[in-house]
Amino acid sequence: MTQLASTLLSIISRVFSLDAVYVITGIVLWILSLLSFRDRINPRRVRTGLFWLILGAIFAFARSTAPDATGVLPNWLTGLLVLFMVAIDGTGGVSRGHYNESTKEEQIIHARRLGGRIFLPVLAIPIVTFLFAIAFRILKLDVNRGALVGLGFGGLCAMATCLWITRDRFETMMQEGRRLNDAMGAVNILPQLLASLGVIFTAAKVGDLIAGGIYKIIPADNLFLLVLANCLGMAMFTIVMGNSFAAFPVIATGVLAPLIIQPFGVRPEMVAIITLTAGSSGTLMTPMAANFNIVPAALLNMRDQYGVIKFQLPYALTLWSLHVILMWLMIKLF
């Protein structure tokens, strides 16, 4: 009986795992790829289809970081496949196709008929995400992983709900998914590529180089200049790496701890968190943070791919300056 329960439990934990969600996403990508291959009007259908086919394969088969990971694709092969995908995109192989789109009039007629029910599939995504996150917390598992698994199953629930409400065909839904996916195109994989670039930068010790440069330039006795250099270094590093989480350990080790906390006897928690968010201001300014700045621009079909960054720039610069002033004031006052 206990054996049955434990088998059942292991099946459930397999099904509701991040790996399972990656496999499902891989299958969705393969369907999109198949539809691209069959898009006869698109002259670049073969290369476009191949691009999404490979991405699907990486999603389904790549080795993940989880201890019980099931992936079979070795890292070097994933790396080569990524290079191949970039080559396809680099030669202009990934293009939009034809989707038998609906007209505005049709949409308005449908909207009148279905009314508020059309919100159900879209609301299903965040609701399922929240439920999974809560369930994972109750089971004392990683909440962030729960939210990701929830996003995957939320997507599935949304698909089922949407088909049920609209009574349309599965293929129509996938064509609509392909319409949105192709609108972004290869920008989709940019966040993953930039994360890889960050890893290579770290391995090449580019970070230590920047921290070392700051260390040499600034005078060690002027608190305001040190605070300025600390926040500037954090923002600059984040702009280059596209990720404040990658920048923080470098700046904290190279600048914050040896030049501010130690010599001035500052409360570490006070300056540490402000240093991190000084980096967040950098994130708002950089195309390297593609998942926050470039992918949304593509997702919203903006004409200017840097449109989001341009809007955020005055806000980010003001907020960054306030970080410098706040940190300096807090050290002075407390």
Partner: protein, 251 residues
């Protein structure tokens, strides 16, 4: 600084020049990665299994650039997970989701583009406090917040459809939508002790020999979070004022 060290910075130069010239971003990023790795003397492949016999491509005991690329790409699949939500959102759009969102918001006379962004940002701060991390761009901004904002703008300008709005205004609405998501997400998430930002700072400071508590970190995140909300409210209020001005001139 060693001259060989400076050579490593060539990757950053490639990125800046490539993005400035608007070359294909994927190609620029991967080139920068390969060049930086090679400049730092890293091998192309790790020296295990298949590549053991290839002396020029590997170095004993060092991880290869291609291996790093593959591993990081696979580890970060979660960033691209939103693709799974696209079919449902696409089909819902075909059946009038955007139209319905816009007509919902038009019922509220007080709704403006700016106020909607402020409310959405506060909602994202709240999800941050509760400790839930989510990517709101595909799940909220594109399907709901953007069409609602367009609906609000139609109300302010007395336009009867999105097509009547000036293109520049629609572009600015899109940018504001993405920005309110980012503002709320970045500065709100540090208000929870289980969020990765706080845990990262906790871990790094502990590694440096400073035993800080996660709760004191959260406490010191409050001032910046407050400022971030106020500053955004000012920016969104200015956006509303601009829209009202352009509404006055077009009439």
């Amino acid at each position: 600084m060693h001259p060989a060290d400076l050579f490593k910075l060539i990757g950053i130069a490639i990125v800046i020049v490539g993005l400035a010239l608007r070359l294909r971003t994927t190609l620029v990023v991967v080139t920068a990665g390969l060049v930086t790795g090679l400049a730092a003397g890293l091998p192309l492949f790790s020296g295990d299994r298949v590549f053991e016999a290839l002396p020029f491509l590997t170095k004993p005991g060092q991880e290869g650039i291609i291996n790093m690329l593959g591993k990081a790409f696979a580890d970060n699949r979660l960033m691209t997970l939103f693709i799974i939500t696209l079919p449902a959102i696409g089909l819902a759009e075909r059946y009038g989701l955007q139209e319905q969102s816009a007509s919902l918001i038009r019922r509220f006379a007080a709704a403006t583009v700016g106020r909607l962004q402020i409310v959405y940002q506060l909602f994202r701060v709240l999800t941050g406090i509760v400790g839930i991390r989510l990517n709101g761009h595909p799940s909220f901004v594109r399907p709901l917040i953007f069409p609602m904002s367009v609906g609000a703008a139609e109300g302010v300008l007395h336009a009867s459809s999105a097509e009547e709005l000036p293109t520049d205004m629609v572009e600015e609405i899109k940018a504001a939508n993405a920005a309110s998501e980012n503002y709320g997400n970045f500065y709100g998430q540090n208000l929870s002790a289980v969020q990765p930002g706080i845990l990262l700072v906790f871990g790094v400071m502990a590694g440096l020999g400073y035993a800080v508590s996660v709760w004191s970190l959260v406490m010191f995140a409050i001032p910046i979070a407050t400022i971030s909300v106020v500053l955004a409210a000012v920016q969104f209020w200015l956006l509303d004022r601009n829209f009202q001005k352009s509404a006055a001139t077009t009439r």
